[in-house]
């Protein structure tokens, strides 16, 4: 409290149509402090970030620097003021080099027109050294060859290089492995020591308790708590976020073994090698691994999206011969991909259209779409999953992440699959919706559906899976059964053999 305040929000409000996204919220950001911003989806976190970033202005209240009110006409103004938001999906140019991406806008010049490569490389080397990233990337490397964690680091380095004084991270760890996340945390701690003000948004409460100095909780656009992180627990924060207790977040009945459902033998594609696995009816098979271990690629191999180079897939003892998603669907396999926006949803179509996409036979008469039939199928599913929307004609792009995921699930439930592959089903979803999806997974398994659950969240795998396969480098490296499923064992097998020494090499 003794530190001088610099950027602050003073009674900031913002309304979108009928939704009060922010309601008179006041927050003071302080240099050298990590402020965690938590809240369910739709609580107003993103709106606050957009206001800080200058995407749009508040309806009421002011953004201040010290005691001077500031108005951002566009993001460039807020960048100039020293505010940077690091988004979930890093904004980098894939076909430029690491060096160019970090120094974009301020590239050193030779004779006024040419790019001074030598100077650029020196500058980049220096930046990489300060962040301890020399092992991870070279200045001349193309960014298209980098993974999500490295891309994010580039965006952070760019922000710091450009003189960012307030850096906000929007769900930075959602696409990172635990190790990558740890390295990000040490970078954040270092920034804090240097006096940068950090805003940290995450659904992962353990991270927040670990990292933050102060925790601000938003609920329905209102600030409900602003207190030091010391003494906070996941339960107390979760309670503040939803306004009620969530004791039963991870529940799953014990599993009763069913008949063999899916039998994959020696499956290889360009990105997975020699994978064999079996799923029984009513079983939840977890797939663990670091990002890039080939988990999503395994799913895409099973559903026939990637070209199968070797191996066999059988459902209920019947071989799935054709190599196409269509054949997989016909065989009774449903797949909800990790990237909802790009791989699962038609964003500009309605809930009804999206949910009815895979059941053309049940929603048509004589080859023509039959709205009444579609409603008969989709309405009960929407009700069962309590999809929150004004009506089923709402565009899915307007829904929150949790509701979008429910639409994807509704699509597959309409199809009544025998096997459902869920790739990171709770990524970017608030706690309330998460609990609902866990309950649904449990219900589906209890009804005899086999489930493959790909997840980066350890508690999710430990709480839900009957068995866990660990992947690394496109192969399965271990199979764990209850009660041997724990974080340490999973991690031990998830580390690629050839990986360099890990740990915090940033001081």
């Amino acid at each position: 409290m003794t530190q001088p305040e610099f950027f602050s929000l003073d009674k900031v409000s913002k309304r979108f149509g009928v939704v009060q996204a922010l309601d008179s919220v006041s927050i003071a950001f302080r240099p050298g402090e990590v402020l965690a911003l938590v809240g369910e989806n739709g609580a107003g976190k993103s709106t606050m970030m957009r206001i800080l970033e200058g995407v749009f202005g508040p309806d009421g209240g002011t953004v201040r620097h010290g005691s001077t009110p500031i108005v951002f006409g566009e993001p460039r103004d807020s960048h100039r003021a020293g505010i940077r938001v690091i988004h979930q999906e890093p904004e980098i140019v894939p076909n430029l080099t690491v060096a160019e991406n970090i120094f974009v806008g301020e590239l050193p010049r030779l004779a006024g027109v040419l790019l001074d490569w030598r100077k650029l490389e020196e500058q980049t080397d220096r930046v990489l050294a300060t962040f301890g990233m020399q092992q991870d990337m070279r200045p001349r490397q193309l960014c298209s060859t980098l993974g999500p964690a490295q891309r994010q680091m580039i965006e952070i380095m760019r922000a710091i290089r450009a003189g960012g004084r307030l850096i906000a991270f929007d769900e930075p760890t959602s696409s990172l492995t635990d190790d990558e996340a740890r390295r990000l945390f040490s970078v954040i701690r270092r920034l804090r020591e240097e006096g940068t003000s950090i805003v940290y948004i995450s659904h992962r409460l353990n991270e927040i308790i670990d990292l933050a100095d102060r925790i601000v909780v938003l609920r329905d656009g209102r600030l409900v708590d602003d207190s030091p992180a010391a003494g906070a627990s996941e339960q107390t924060i979760a309670k503040l976020m939803v306004g009620r207790d969530i004791a039963d977040l991870f529940t799953r009945e014990t599993w009763r073994a069913g008949q063999l459902l899916l039998d994959v033998a020696g499956l290889s594609t360009d990105r997975v090698s020699d994978v064999s696995l079996r799923v029984r009816r009513g079983e939840v098979l977890g797939i663990a691994g670091l990002v890039g271990a080939g988990r999503s690629e395994l799913a895409k191999a099973i559903v026939g999206y990637d070209r199968r180079l070797a191996g066999t897939i059988a459902m209920n003892g019947v071989s799935v011969l054709a190599n196409s998603p269509h054949a997989a669907i016909v065989a009774g396999i449903g797949f909800a991909p990790e990237d909802r926006k790009h791989e699962a949803l038609l964003l500009f179509r309605s809930i009804l259209d999206n949910a009815a996409l895979c059941v053309p036979d049940k929603t048509s008469s004589f080859g023509f779409f039959n709205r009444r039939k579609a409603l008969e199928i989709v309405s009960p599913l929407a009700a069962k999953m309590s999809i929150k929307a004004p009506n089923l004609d709402e565009q899915v792009s307007k829904l929150s992440g949790g509701n979008q995921q429910k639409v994807v699930l509704a699509r597959w439930l309409a199809r009544q699959p025998m096997l459902l592959i869920l790739d990171e089903p709770t990524r970017g979803i608030d706690i309330g919706a998460k609990a609902e999806i866990y309950r649904l997974i449990d219900e589906l398994a209890a009804s005899g559906i086999g489930i493959i659950l790909i997840s980066s969240e350890m508690p999710e795998l430990i709480g839900l899976a009957d068995r866990v396969l660990v992947m690394a480098g496109g192969r399965i490296t271990a199979e764990l059964s209850r009660p041997d499923i724990d974080e340490a064992t999973i991690l031990k097998h998830a580390m690629p053999q050839s990986a360099p020494a890990l740990g915090d090499h940033i001081q």
């Binding site: 998603p325 038609l346 929307a389 699509r411």
Partner: protein, 333 residues
């Protein structure tokens, strides 16, 4: 909001006013097209009040847009699927020649119709295969085949106009049923078929899915390669139909005359009608309104004696303007 309200949504719509329901059904975009059309009618109507509103001139406009109408609708389907077919004009030229030659050789109008539709379909098949399996960008692929189809039409006809002497066949182009030209009936019929196909059929809805997001479409079990080839075949057959109509109207098969620049007008009409060039968006009703705007503009420019060369300027500008407006709207949402 809960599930109860989901079910109540229908009742809400019913309670709203009739005018807002009309707006909803037509869509904001189509209403702005109607306004633009009305403005053009007022301008040309006041400049040439003597002839513009005569029934003869209105029929002329109608006749002038039938061939374009068919092409704009098929182009809409292609664009909604995320493609583009700039070979349609050349395909029309090719099919007028093949239709005329078939009639000349056999004396049978049906042979001419079959020849036109089959050749159009084959041309579309070639486009579809090059784009889908050769993985060539649709613009480049159809730019190439545009030259090829024109070349074939010249070779087949030896560069000459081929006259058609079958009165039965000419009836398609100049005959009337219930007082209205047969061409207009054909346009109305194809419009109904296209609209039902694109907006209501499962295949049509899958085409929106394919153009909106091919990855989602594939994960949903849609055979996207088969769809893409099929859509270009459809575009070719539609060009064949347009070729037959053109041949019946002019009484001849010609490699270039009458079909040149149709691709520009068809794409302009589709984009004016609300097609997003990225795919996944566009309607048949919108395309027809776009066609009407082009028809009135063409007719009005002739009536007000705008020199031909300047008409070309207007058409090119219209396409670019339509795309600029579409992109502006896309970026705002």
């Amino acid at each position: 909001m809960n599930s109860l309200e989901l079910r109540a949504s229908k009742a809400q719509t019913g309670a709203r006013g009739a005018s807002s329901r009309l707006v909803e059904r037509l869509g904001v975009h189509n209403i702005s097209l109607l306004v633009a059309l009305a403005i053009l009618v007022v301008i040309f109507g006041s400049l040439r009040a003597d002839v513009f509103f005569s029934s003869r001139n209105l029929l002329n406009i109608g006749l002038g847009i039938t061939i374009l109408g068919v092409l704009a609708m098929s182009q809409t389907v292609v664009i909604v699927a995320g493609g583009l077919d700039i070979a349609v004009g050349a395909t029309v030229g090719l099919t007028t020649v093949s239709t005329a030659m078939a009639i000349q050789a056999t004396g049978s109008p049906s042979a001419g119709i079959v020849a036109g539709l089959v050749l159009g379909g084959l041309a579309g098949l070639v486009n579809g295969i090059i784009i889908t399996y050769g993985r060539v960008n649709a613009v480049i692929a159809t730019l190439g085949t545009m030259a090829i189809f024109r070349g074939i039409a010249f070779i087949m006809s030896d560069g000459q106009s081929i006259a058609i002497f079958s009165d039965t066949f000419r009836f398609i182009g100049i005959g009337r049923i219930l007082g209205l030209p047969l061409l207009i009936w054909i346009l109305v019929l194809t419009a109904i078929v296209f609209h039902l196909f694109l907006a209501r059929s499962i295949v049509g809805r899958n085409i929106y899915a394919l153009g909106g997001n091919p990855v989602v479409a594939r994960f949903s079990g849609i055979n996207i390669n088969r769809y893409r080839v099929g859509i270009y075949i459809m575009s070719g057959v539609a060009a064949g139909l347009a070729g037959i109509l053109l041949a019946a109207r002019t009484g001849s098969g010609q490699p270039v005359s009458g079909s040149q620049g149709l691709e520009l007008e068809a794409i302009t009409a589709a984009v004016l009608g609300g097609c997003a060039l990225q795919g996944g968006k566009g309607t048949i009703v919108g395309a027809l309104l776009g066609v009407a705007i082009i028809g009135v503009l063409n007719n009005g420019m002739i009536l007000t004696s705008v020199p031909t060369f300047y008409q070309l300027l207007a058409k090119g500008s219209l396409l670019i303007l339509a795309v600029v407006i579409a992109e502006y709207h896309l970026n705002r949402t």
